[in-house]
């Protein structure tokens, strides 16, 4: 057995870079340091089925094994013929593949969108409106004395997040956890809230109301009501004081606030609160991004097109409007007539109405495993898995790029190679038809 050190975990946005993989016969058989969810990705969770060859669905609806050439040819024909293709996913692959993908979208005048549109899209929208006072994990670990988790449960979704940044000892926080005040805002009691010094049990869908009251109080105004969002005025004042008295505060926020009532407006006011807090303390924020490279796509798309997600290349000029050009918008409004899914599983996560449209139109899936998405797909192109079988760059949730390592070999093409070949073939078809 061989030990491969300093491997980066290709699962969640924490992007832990201290994993040790145990390799036997060119297969990862165990890990050291990874959390349970990270570990199960490395060793392929039980019951997971890999596609070993590209597949095309025949007239009877059965998947038939085929070659990359054949599957790429069919996929290119679908994309070239479509009037409003949608390319969705991107969050579990690396930046170089994403860059080819944005190029492909531009050449096919498609809509390109990533999983942010169903997770932290509202945060991205809000930061365009009001800015983004962010810092890196290193600063949190070494400096933060007030840590807020709002609308997230890192103990389950990002299992090593607390241990690496809150419990860990830092340069100015020598005692680790006991040098920090931990505040959790969550309507429920969770395994994270149980660890908190202050748990604000905000009413369902009332994050905005609570933030509005906190911000007004911070500016020295009286809170209009005795109780806001189910929390008494005094308790709100206490929390506001704790935030104002921070030496270095950090707000981590998750989908409990990005997807409760009001969505991006909750984040907009949360960001503004953090900005205002800088009148009293040093305060920053980091969104708790889920997929390991969801941030990377937003970076790549922004530098390629000027917009982070929901980009519509239909007229040749990139346009952007979540609510109109998001994957679920164009599926549910039946605007899109062909879809390519890569590095995500909308089949498992999208609402019924979107899936109904996916069932009506041709779907191309670039996906290593058998998933609900591949059940709906007409063409399946299996790639090598980034971070295990191929390398590439990913962005950690606060925007630090990290090089993912290749640990074992695979005879499958990488996402990048599949997309490059697809792009080449689409261009040939387009030029021929001119």
């Amino acid at each position: 057995m061989e030990l491969v050190k300093n491997v980066v975990c290709p699962f969640c946005g924490t992007l832990c870079d201290d994993i040790i993989c145990k390799v036997e016969n060119d297969e990862i058989v165990g890990t050291i340091n990874a959390c349970r969810i990270g570990h199960s990705k490395f060793v392929h969770a039980e019951g997971a089925m890999r596609w070993k060859k590209p597949q095309i669905r025949d007239e009877n609806g059965e998947l038939v094994e085929t070659t990359y050439d054949d599957a790429i040819e069919k996929a290119a024909q679908v994309l070239a013929a479509s009037k409003r293709p949608l390319m969705y996913g991107w969050s579990c692959t690396e930046c170089e593949a994403q860059a080819v993908g944005v190029d492909l979208a531009e050449q096919t005048k498609a809509i390109v969108d990533n999983t942010a549109s169903v997770c932290h899209g509202p945060s991205v929208l809000a930061l365009q409106d009001v800015g983004y006072p962010i810092c890196t994990f290193g600063e949190v670990k070494n400096r933060a004395d007030v840590v807020v988790y709002w609308g997230c449960n890192p103990m389950h979704a990002h299992p090593r997040h607390l241990s690496r940044h809150v419990f860990a000892r830092g340069f100015f926080r020598e005692r680790g956890r006991s040098d920090r005040t931990l505040i959790v805002v969550d309507p429920r009691e969770s395994d994270s809230s149980k660890l908190a010094d202050i748990h604000l049990q905000v009413g369902y869908n009332q994050d905005y109301e609570l933030l509005d009251a906190m911000r007004a109080a911070m500016m020295g105004h009286e809170i209009l009501y005795d109780e806001v969002a189910g929390i008494p005025r005094e308790e709100i004042m206490e929390a506001v004081e704790a935030l104002k008295n921070a030496q270095f505060g950090i707000l981590f926020f998750g989908m409990g606030i990005t997807h409760s009532r009001g969505k991006h407006r909750n984040i907009d006011t949360a960001i503004m609160m953090v900005q205002d807090l800088n009148n009293f303390a040093k305060f920053t924020l980091i969104p708790m991004r889920g997929h390991y490279n969801v941030t990377g796509f937003n970076q790549v798309a922004t530098w390629e097109s000027g917009y982070p997600y929901c980009i519509d290349f239909a007229t040749g000029i990139p346009r952007y409007n979540p609510g109109e050009t998001g994957a679920n918008d164009v599926l549910q409004n039946k605007e899109t007539d062909a879809m390519m899914v890569i590095a995500s599983d909308p089949g498992a996560h999208f609402p019924q109405k979107s899936l109904r449209r996916m069932a009506e139109i041709p779907v191309i899936a670039i996906e290593p495993h058998r998933t609900p998405t591949t059940e709906l797909a007409d063409i399946i192109l299996p790639p090598a898995i980034v971070g295990m079988e191929t390398d590439g760059t990913a962005y950690r949730m606060e925007g630090v790029p990290i090089r993912m390592r290749k640990v074992v070999d695979s005879d499958l093409l990488s996402d990048r190679e599949i997309l490059q070949r697809l792009l080449k073939r689409v261009m040939e078809i387009k030029t021929a038809s001119k």
Partner: protein
Amino acid sequence: MITLKPKEQPEVPLEVENVTPDAFAGKTVDEIKALPIWHGNGTVPLSDFFEVEGEAGATAAETQIIIDGDVPQTKRIGSGMTAGEITVKGNVSMYVGVGMKGGKITVEGNAKSWAGQDMSGGELTIMGNTGDYVGSSYRGDWRGMSGGLITVYGDAGNEAAEYMNGGKIVIKGDVSIMPGIHMNNGLLIIEGNVIARTGGEMAGGTIVVKGVIDEFLAGFKYHGVEKDIEVDGETIPGAFYKFTGDYAIKGANGTVYAAVAGNSHIAP
């Protein structure tokens, strides 16, 4: 007058930035038929999806367009128009009257989201309901509608008058959440009910709600009851609770009037 009779509407939507009095003025019917419109990621002549009849005026102001039927898959009708008139005898898709500078648009049915986005002048009337972001700004912009009048006879969705900078919006039905969010200036009158977050983060301007506000924000200040209020040079009869805010924002100077009838629960 030019009449556009819609043929079958496609699933992949149309974008008709060219359907304005400005684009039609001084053109023959054949020239109008040939005007390009977007269908998905390619353009087609207008006549692929509309029968064109009538005669355009010499100038935009003298040109009247009637869209004679439902066009639920057609976006951007009247985009950026400066004068003249458009009447739609049915439902429209998104962005009707986007960037409108003058003239008049009447939609006799419903309009989807972003009606009157970035409007700076003219009159947009929607007889039915509209979606979210009526009279809003472009995504990411902090300067929204700056002039003109939008009247919605039915209900509106979320974030009506988002980042509004001027002009007037009247919604006769109910609205969902966050009317007047980030509003800087102008007047928003809601004759029906509001669910929550009226005037969230508003920095200026005035919102009048004649119906019931279910939940109100704690960042406002309460100033008691006022009768027959004067806003924008007109008197609105009735008794209203007056609030100012939203003091979550630095230097906020917005005003919310909420009818006394039905709203005693939000007065502290």
